[in-house]
């Protein structure tokens, strides 16, 4: 059983100074502005789906961010269980919260697209169903942290859950390849089945959202570091009273 060390703050490399954070914010803003320009002004309408296909770029980029976030939860959970350092627990929690945010966006934008393309908001298609399950798994992961009182126990339970819960991530990805589905299969083993300008727009959207993920993660990690500092100072204050 690992002993939790009182290491506070994020993983080294994810704690830039104010200047570094401002640079990430500016790059994120510019990339998102470029992506929006490409989506609405550059790419042509899809030959089959028409105008509504333009949801695709941020819908898939949100899914990418969710995948990224839950991969970080998985890796940080393993690191927490092996090293017992608080910073990995903080990283897993912060990333899980952001992952749930982007999965929520996938689950909102998907049905909007579906309503126009399939004429229904929801269908129990394998991709939609496994994505909904993914959302429930990580909402449960966040709720589990409210259940245990002791911080160490809470972090350990969450880490185990973060590792087991990750099983659904590859299932979501491969669901459209393993089962019959009405969900479009765009990225295949032969590459991306789309026109060049659409591929360029998708890549820019992916990069923009990856920066957005890093920006949000750094800010969310700061909250964890500040909460730890508050807890430590409170203990010190109570100690000096006693």
């Amino acid at each position: 059983m690992p002993q939790e060390k009182p290491a506070v703050g994020p993983v080294p490399g994810l704690r830039p100074g104010r200047g570094g954070l401002n640079s990430i914010a500016v790059i994120t803003f510019v990339l998102i502005a470029v992506a929006q320009y490409l989506i609405f002004m550059y790419v042509p309408d899809d030959a089959t789906l028409g105008l509504i296909q333009r949801i695709f770029y941020f819908h898939v980029a949100s899914a990418w961010n969710a995948l990224l976030a839950f991969s970080v939860v998985f890796a940080a959970s393993i690191l927490y269980l092996s090293k017992g350092e608080r910073r990995y627990d903080a990283l897993a929690l912060s990333s899980a919260e952001i992952g749930v945010l982007f999965t929520t966006l996938v689950l909102i934008t998907g049905p909007i697209w579906g309503k126009v393309s399939w004429n229904q908001w929801w269908t129990w298609d394998p991709r939609l169903t496994t994505t909904l399950i993914l959302w429930f798994i990580y909402v449960a992961y966040l709720l589990i942290r409210l259940a245990a009182d002791e911080p160490e126990k809470r972090a350990r339970y969450a880490a185990v859950f973060g590792i087991i819960g990750f099983i659904d991530v590859p299932i979501v990805f491969f669901s459209i390849r393993w089962w019959r589905t009405i969900h479009p299969v765009v990225i295949t083993w032969q590459g991306a089945a789309m026109e060049k300008s659409m591929l360029q727009t998708m890549i820019v959207s992916f990069i923009a959202f990856s920066f957005l993920f890093v920006y949000l993660l750094i800010h969310r990690l700061r909250i964890e570091a500040m909460q730890d500092e508050v807890a430590q100072l409170k203990e010190r204050l109570q100690g000096s009273r006693g």
Binding site: L49, L51, I55, F58, T104, I112, V116, E229, V230, R241
Partner: protein
């Protein structure tokens, strides 16, 4: 193919929701950081007062 007239409000709604959710989350992170900064400030002042006595 769905008509552009039919698709446009849905497309608008999707992008509006994305930005409202992301912006809302960013604001909530900022609000939590500000609250914690205030708490830290209060506790640090309390510790300093105690040390000065």
């Amino acid at each position: 193919m769905p008509s552009a007239e039919k698709a446009l409000p849905f497309l608008f709604a999707a992008y509006t929701i994305i930005w409202v959710v992301v912006f809302g989350y960013t604001l909530s992170i900022g609000a939590r950081q500000r609250k914690l900064a205030q708490d830290l400030d209060l506790i640090k002042r309390a510790i300093e007062k105690r040390a000065a006595r």
